[in-house]
Each structure stands twice: as structure tokens, then as C-alpha cells.
């Protein structure tokens, strides 16, 4: 389809232009506050729980997240909400209450840095290299996807979109490091919400509220269930995703979700910037409350699209065969065009651009930290000055962006790479969660076991992927059903690789020598003095707010069962 979906007015262009001026201005202003490594890589460890918490969520809220999950909601209905609720909330609360004390008290700069303290250099090197590879690849893929979206929606040239948005992100992270990334993420968080929620409000008005929307969906798509979270998950064939509840609960809700939210340094780095342990514990809890609300700006527009759009959207392959048909991925821009006039449309597009930039800044700042501390300092130049590492971090930011741009151009030539994005998480994040969680909770886990468990989990995950790739009939073993879709396969593969990582770690630990308990202080449960919160009033305690969020999470799942 060559025709663009939206046409921007001069007011819309001013709204978008002002956004770029503001993010660059923030970067220029913050440069004077980022002099030391602690400033550049951890924002001076001076963030309040609110700023760290909002940035924690915003770094995950890429524009592809907004458009992609709105599209998934149109395709699969409310099932897509699982990625925001069971696929996020328990893990975020677990990070805040159980894991954050060890990350924070150990004073590590990064997740690979924690592995160095707990298991030694080899585990750190393996996780740092795989994280760097994954981050740059993801960044490039997201960059290309964003440029493609801007071409389809606004008719913008792909090269223009890639270079302008990337150079802006590179500039403000180069200038102000993580501090600048975090500040802009908080700004972007506001813009994403204020730009996107208008569609949900006006959509509900047009549809006649929630019940009116459900009625219209049933009328438009008779015989299909788009509005129940759990009711259709009793069998692989009773829901449009081809997934069973065990896959959602164990694969998504446990391994993938806990792996991503507790060990992916892109998000954990935001929390490490908190000013004290209580703020570090509160940040993921605050983030989880907002994460729980994100379906109202992401999933709801997709459901409203099912209810109010006069045409039925189709998949990419069908759209290619049907001239003029719109795809699932266009549902959010179509809803924006449906309700937003000049000014509001600019705000909505700014929300998409802000989402992309917050996600990319997250990738770039995390990559710069892991490269500088866990690869460059650990393996290449161990005894340089702090200012040398800050300079390396700044140049690495630019290098990371340039490599991401190069990756985007590679993706442009080999589009099939896009199909494998989700698989990356099961390769690297799921086993990493096994290693980190055993390292934090089990004193007996040995340095050798940490490395071999992580390696075995990663290699087995890639092997399972290749097995199914070359022999599709293997799907019935990996995903427990020949009918499983890609998402289901990724979830089960993640689960198996986590189990393999844990089993190998436990077995190797039995045959190798553990670290003395004295060396595990501040790193492992049972060997760490965690400050008591007994003197703090109940309403200021993280555990209280974690309980509140969990109760709301349970109630929402019951309401939309």
C-alpha cells in the first residue's frame, strides 16, 4: 500500500518539532551534571522512587509496543492483556521486594556486574557479550520497524526517520548519560499517556461504553471470543492465539516475565539509579501500578477498533494479496486519524515517536554501561581512570547508535530477521533468570555452576530453535502441541531452557566448591543483612504497596476473566 494513512497540519508539525527541541534541551542542560562514572552510568544514584519507577516503565514502552500490542489486541482480543498483567506485574513486584536488596546492596553497576561478584569473571563475560549482542540487534530492528511505520502512516522517508530520531537519541544520551535518558523517559511517559489515551476515551464514547463495545464486537465478529482473558485458555484450539493456560502462566508469567523484568539490564538499570534502598524497592512497585494501566491506552484501542472500524483489518500477507486492505498493525494510527484533529494528531504522533526514543535510549544507555564496565574495563583495559571510562561511555553511546543503524539497514535487506525477535529473549534472558535467581537465593550455587548453567541454558535454547526450524514436526515436543503458534513456541522454549539452566547449575554445584559464606555477604539471601523496615509507618513500606498492587491485579483478572 503506497498511500499514507495520515496527513499532518502545520500545528502537528510544530507539536512534534517542540518535542525534539525539548529532549535535546534537556540533554544539553544535564551535561554539566554528568562528570563521574556514577553520574553518567547510574545517574548519580540520586533518583527518587517516582522518577526511577516511571523511567522503568517508559524504557519498556517503545512505539512498537504501542502499535504492536494494539495490533495484537485487534488480532487476538483481550488475550494480549496477559503481556501487561500476568506477564509483568508479579515479576515487577518480585524484583522490588525480593531481588532489589541484593542488586542495590552489592553496589553493582549492572546485572553482568552482579554475576561477576556472585559467580566470577566467566559468567559475567558470557552474560555481558550476549546482552550487548541482543541489545544492539533489538535496537536496530526497532529502529527499522519505527521508520517503516512512519513511512506507512505519514509517508516519511525511511532514511530520514532512522537518522533524525537516532541522532537525537544519541545526542541526548551522549551529553547527559543515564540521567538524561531517565529524565527524557519521564517526559516521554507523560506524552505517551496524554497522546494515546484520547483515542480510548473517544472510542468508548462512540462505542457506548464497555458493554456497548462488547456488543458491537460480537455483532461484527459473531462466534468469536475477543473479550475474555482466561475463559478460552482451557485448550490450544479454543482461543485465537493457539495457547494453553500453562503456557501463559509458566512460560509467560513465570520464565519470560521474570527473566525480562528482573534480569534485563535495560530496565533494571533504571532502578539501580534510585537514591536509597527503599526508593529502589518502591520504583518497580510504582512502575507495576502504571504498567497495569497501560492496556487502557494500548489494548483498548485495538478492541475499540474491532467495535467501531467499518472495515475488517487483515494480516500482512493477506493485505499484500488484497489491494487497499489495511493491516492489524495500522489499527492505532487508524484510530488516531478517526478521532484526532490538528494538534491532537500531532500529540498522538509525538507519543509514538516518544515511545520509540525512550525504548532506544534504554537500549543505548544499557549497552554503554555493559560495554564500558563489563567488557572494556573487565577484559580490555582494567586500570584506567574514571574520566577515561566516562569518555568511553560517551563514545560507546554514539558507536552503539551507529551499529544499531547499520543493523537496521541489514534488517532492511533481510526482512526474515524480524520473525526471530521474540526468540532472542528465550535464548538469552530465560537462562539468565535461572542463574541470577539461584545466585541470589541459594548459597550453595558455585562459581563454576553459575557459568555452566548459563551456558547450557543458552545453548539448549538456541538448539531447540534450530531443531524446530529444520524439522517443524519437533514443535509437538518443544511446545507440547503441533498447533502451537510462534508465541507459544517461544514461551515453552524459554521454560525448557530455564529448567535446563537450573538443573545444570544445581548438579554442577553438587560437584564443585562453593564460595565461603563471608564472600557472599551482600549478594545472597541468608548471607546478607537487609535493613529492617520495622520503624517505617505501614503506608511507607514497599511491601504494603506491593500488596495493594497485587490485590488490584487479582481483581482485574477476575473482572475480565
Amino acid at each position: 500500500m503506497n498511500q499514507k494513512l495520515l496527513t499532518l497540519s502545520p500545528v502537528d508539525l510544530v507539536v512534534i518539532g517542540l518535542y525534539f527541541v525539548m529532549v535535546l534541551g534537556i540533554g544539553i542542560y544535564l551535561k554539566r551534571y554528568t562528570k563521574t562514572g556514577e553520574d553518567f552510568f547510574l545517574a548519580g544514584r540520586d533518583m527518587t522512587s517516582w522518577i526511577a519507577g516511571l523511567s522503568f516503565v517508559a524504557a519498556n514502552l517503545g512505539s512498537l509496543e504501542l502499535m504492536g500490542w494494539a495490533a495484537s489486541a485487534y488480532q487476538y482480543g483481550i488475550l494480549a492483556t496477559h503481556w501487561y498483567w500476568i506477564g509483568a506485574i508479579p515479576a515487577m513486584l518480585f524484583l522490588g521486594i525480593v531481588m532489589m536488596p541484593f542488586y542495590y546492596i552489592s553496589r553493582t553497576h549492572s546485572v553482568p556486574g552482579y554475576l561477576k561478584l556472585r559467580f566470577g569473571e566467566s559468567a559475567r563475560a558470557l552474560s555481558a557479550i550476549t546482552f550487548g549482542f541482543m541489545t544492539i540487534l533489538m535496537s536496530g530492528i526497532n529502529m527499522y520497524s519505527m521508520a517503516l511505520v512512519m513511512k506507512i502512516v505519514l509517508g516519511w522517508d525511511i532514511h530520514f526517520s532512522i537518522w533524525v530520531s537516532s541522532i537525537t537519541v544519541a545526542a541526548y544520551v551522549f551529553l547527559g548519560g543515564l540521567l538524561s535518558a531517565i529524565f527524557n523517559e519521564v517526559l516521554q511517559f507523560f506524552l505517551i499517556w496524554l497522546g494515546a489515551i484520547v483515542v480510548s476515551i473517544l472510542g468508548l464514547v462512540e462505542a457506548g461504553g464497555w458493554s456497548g463495545m462488547v456488543r458491537r464486537i460480537h455483532a461484527n465478529f459473531p462466534g468469536q471470543d475477543y473479550t475474555h482473558l482466561w475463559a478460552g485458555l482451557g485448550s490450544f484450539t479454543a482461543n485465537p492465539m493457539g495457547i494453553h493456560w500453562t503456557g501463559i502462566v509458566l512460560g509467560l508469567g513465570f520464565v519470560i516475565s521474570f527473566g525480562y523484568w528482573t534480569t534485563d539490564f535495560l530496565v533494571v538499570q533504571r532502578v539501580l539509579s534510585a537514591k536509597d534502598l527503599r526508593s529502589a524497592k518502591m520504583a518497580p512497585i510504582i512502575g507495576s501500578a502504571f504498567k497495569m494501566a497501560v492496556p487502557f491506552i494500548v489494548i483498548l484501542p485495538g478492541l475499540l477498533g474491532l467495535a467501531v472500524l467499518p472495515e475488517h483489518l487483515v494480516g500482512e500477507s493477506q493485505a499484500a494479496a488484497m489491494h487497499g486492505a489495511h493491516t492489524y498493525n495500522e489499527v492505532l494510527p487508524m484510530m488516531l486519524a478517526r478521532y484526532c484533529g490538528p494538534g491532537l494528531l500531532g500529540l498522538g504522533i509525538t507519543a509514538l515517536i516518544a515511545g520509540f526514543m525512550s525504548g532506544m535510549a534504554g537500549n543505548v544507555s544499557a549497552f554503554a554501561t555493559v560495554w564500558t564496565y563489563d567488557i572494556y574495563r573487565a577484559l580490555i583495559r582494567p586500570r584506567a581512570s574514571d574520566s577515561h571510562y566516562v569518555a568511553m561511555g560517551r563514545w560507546c553511546t554514539l558507536l552503539g547508535v551507529l551499529v544499531s543503524i547499520a543493523t537496521a539497514y541489514v534488517v532492511m535487506q533481510f526482512l526474515s530477521i524480524m520473525d526471530y525477535v521474540q526468540a532472542l529473549f528465550s535464548f538469552f534472558i530465560a537462562p539468565l533468570f535461572g542463574t541470577v535467581i539461584l545466585g541470589m537465593l541459594w548459597k550453595r550455587a558455585t562459581p563454576a555452576a553459575g557459568f555452566w548453567g548459563l551456558l547450557a541454558g543458552t545453548v539448549s535454547s538456541i538448539s531447540m530453535f534450530l531443531w524446530v526450524h529444520f524439522d517443524p514436526s519437533a514443535l509437538r515436543y518443544i511446545a507440547l502441541s503441533p498447533n502451537a503458534q510462534n508465541m507459544a513456541e517461544n514461551m515453552y522454549r524459554a521454560l525448557w531452557s530455564w529448567i535446563i539452566c537450573v538443573v545444570v547449575t544445581v548438579v554442577v554445584s553438587m560437584f564443585t566448591r562453593p564460595k565461603p559464606v563471608a564472600e557472599l555477604k551482600g549478594l545472597v539471601y541468608g548471607a546478607t543483612d537487609i535493613p529492617s523496615e520495622g520503624s517505617i509507618p505501614l503506608v511507607h513500606r514497599p511491601i504494603f504497596w506491593a500488596g495493594v498492587v497485587f490485590v488490584v491485579f487479582v481483581v482485574l483478572n477476575i473482572i475480565f476473566w
Binding site: 500545528v11 517526559l187 496524554l194 473517544l202
Partner: protein
């Protein structure tokens, strides 16, 4: 954070939202007098005006509350 004279992020947010609020409200009022040839769905609700006011209210709150003080 970061000592005296440090401008809070909330001030930057307030500034941008205030400008957006003014721009979007003004555009909404302009469209009230000069309706577009192809209006969006629910144009009669004039979303630009009320949403512009919401942005302006949030923006002004943060702009004034976190306006930088002299160190």
C-alpha cells in the same frame, strides 16, 4: 536531587505541556469557528478544546510548582 539550582524534570514537563495546551486549545477554538471540510468522528465534542485545557492545567501545575528558584 543534584543540589541547589538544579532544575527539576517536572518543570520541563510542565513547560512542554503548557505550550502544547495553548497550541491545541487555540487550534480547537479556531476549528470551532472554521469547521474542517473532513471533520474527525465525534467532532461535535471538540476534543481539541477540552483535551487542550487538560494539558494546560497539568502543565501549569508542574510549571508553577517546580519553577526554578534562585540558589
Amino acid at each position: 536531587m543534584h543540589g541547589p539550582g538544579f532544575i527539576s524534570i517536572w518543570f520541563f514537563i510542565g513547560t512542554l505541556l503548557t505550550i502544547y495546551g495553548v497550541l491545541i486549545t487555540a487550534t480547537g477554538f479556531y476549528e470551532l469557528g472554521t469547521p474542517p471540510a473532513n471533520p474527525p468522528v465525534l467532532f461535535s465534542l471538540h476534543a481539541g478544546i477540552w483535551w487542550g485545557f487538560v494539558l494546560l492545567a497539568i502543565g501549569l501545575f508542574y510549571f508553577l510548582k517546580f519553577f526554578p528558584k534562585k540558589p
